[in-house]
Symmetry: C2
Subunit: 351 residues, 2 copies
């Protein structure tokens, strides 16, 4: 059985060495469930390969600490190995170091100063519909009820508040086909996207401050396709754009903005995921930032914190891993950072 | 055996009814070879499914009359059928009506006023390397020696002189990949094609007069591709352009022009086919235009006349079919136009 009394660095290595590529988390989820179920101060439930453990101390405040158990595919980087202060291996940074910290807190803080829900979930690294958090939010939303959530994704030990939303849309220009030898009988749809690109090049992204954090939006073409054959004036050209929007906007407002930017063109929404407010103005968050220290920054990429935000739970990203090493063959985590992270979280839940 | 003594309209129908989709011309080529070989005034040779027949009267002038035997795939439009003045069926316009006229001339003009080479070739409707004329020009260029050539492609009974050349090139813009949530760390290659499109939109095509005919050039995007994934700033975008150039330019000059238009961008040549001068200033061409009547116009699309031009043989397109019906399921040819075309060609070779 997973020994939760061991040092957090050793626990990280132990967890890394239980391979858990997305879809193959069962062995690790079993170990986590068994170890937590052995602790009398926790109420443990499970759904699929997601394990939820709660303290029930009757506090007026409840915080949620979450981490995903899965990793990207192993790339010859298991078992883990230590080199100096670094622990190498698949999932060290993203995010078994964070999971180890959460497990240590679950085991060593039987009477926290606020009730805690620990969530260890599956399939974060694959499509959203397989994501364990998506499933829990849909089938057991009550399990996720909390005043504040910390998602232990790698942030290099810095609090990253909320996340930006993302929206993809297609801007379509139509024309009229003709043989390219008599091009003046046609209307060239590829030529017709020039003003679409001009608007993108002229676009000035907003950098709004939300709950004290500065976000940084972006509107970009991420794809373009057009063309029928080498001798045909094309009658269709489609520019795919991606809008990353700050958490002061809803999906609907973001869509409206994109439609305004491309006013006069046919715009169709492809998909969107909401932004999440950082929630750092909440008192329990203030206690968290005080315990962790440093200056919180805005999370620009989209993460699962948006799922908490959608349930009305303000959430931040915070973890000992290095986000720049995520998904890389040479992934590692700094061992002192794990210890530091455990210390900060312990302070938050005990002082 | 194909009866070359029958009326040209009936002969057209007879030829149309011998299916000859590109690659399947053998039955028709056999019939053509057998019918021509029976005529004592012709010297007949064959290469693959291409049949060449020559008069050897010792004239100082030799003209060449060519037509392709193949058609695009049959689309439920065989056998042929007559409705009023129209003959419907696959290949009627493109170009068995022209082939029928040429066969009638070969059969009924045993002593033309200038020597004639008749060329009936295969695989015009498919890729250039399978084209019978490409093969003959490479392996038996002497067979194509002439002072002037008439390619009986459908032109609605109007002489269309020469043809424009065609050149395809790729204009490539590179950038730098980045996650679209932090787009300012990247350089968006799709955004980078805006000036390429601006130059295309501002482009003023030339309309030069060559040998008395006005051509009309065109420079167009015929394809665009770019994009890595919905969350990645793309580092590559390629615009495929097609330049249709008048016969006062060589391929080299056309390429140089395209490179000048896109100065500052990476331009790579994909393929090119030369233009062909109309050659209407040659005396034998003057006799031809006098016989056919009407006002010759410039051929804007690329045709096999360029292959004759490349061999130093001025060439025109002239045939009874309607070019706008080519490759269409409802293809037909006007029966009076076939008769008119036979009459005009007969005048040219006998008066």
């Amino acid at each position: 059985m997973l020994d939760l009394t061991q040092d957090v660095r050793d626990l990280t290595a132990a967890i890394v060495d239980i391979e858990s590529v997305s879809g193959g988390e069962k062995a690790l989820a079993d170990e986590v469930e068994r170890a937590l179920a052995a602790l009398p101060h926790l109420k443990v439930t499970r759904s699929g390969e997601t394990v939820v453990a709660r303290t029930e101390q009757g506090h007026s405040e409840r915080v949620l600490i979450a981490g995903h158990l899965d990793t990207v595919p192993v790339a010859g980087n298991l078992p883990s190995r230590v080199e100096g202060d670094l622990l190498y291996g698949c999932g060290t940074s993203d995010m078994k170091a964070g999971v180890a910290v959460a497990l240590r807190l679950a085991a060593t803080v039987p009477a926290p100063n606020r009730d805690v829900t620990y969530v260890f979930y599956d399939c974060e690294e694959v499509e959203a519909e397989r994501n364990g958090l998506t499933r829990i939010a849909r089938d057991h939303a009550g399990w996720l009820a909390a005043d504040f959530a910390v998602l232990m994704e790698p942030t290099d030990g810095v609090i990253e508040g909320g996340c930006q939303g993302t929206l993809r849309a297609e801007v379509t220009v139509t024309g009229k086909r003709a043989h390219s030898a008599r091009s003046w009988f046609g209307v060239n749809a590829i030529h017709g996207i020039e003003p679409v690109l001009a608007r993108l090049n002229a676009y000035e992204p907003r950098r709004p401050v939300v709950d004290g954090l500065e976000y940084h939006e972006g509107l970009n073409a991420v794809g373009v396709r057009g063309g029928v054959a080498g001798n045909v004036i094309p009658d269709l050209c489609v520019v795919s754009v991606n809008y990353r929007f700050a958490p002061d906007q809803s999906i609907e407002e973001a869509e409206e903005h994109v439609r305004e930017v491309f006013d006069g063109f046919a715009v169709s929404l492809v998909d969107a995921a909401p932004a999440a407010r950082p929630g750092l103005t909440h008192p329990v968050a203030a206690a968290f930032t005080a315990a962790v220290g440093g200056t919180p920054r805005a999370k620009l990429g989209w993460t699962d914190v948006a799922r908490f935000s959608a349930l009305g739970v303000p959430a931040v990203n915070y973890g000992p891993g290095d986000p720049n090493l995520a998904h890389q063959q040479g992934e590692y985590v700094s061992l002192p950072k794990i210890v530091e992270s455990e210390r900060a979280m312990l302070d938050w839940l005990t002082i």
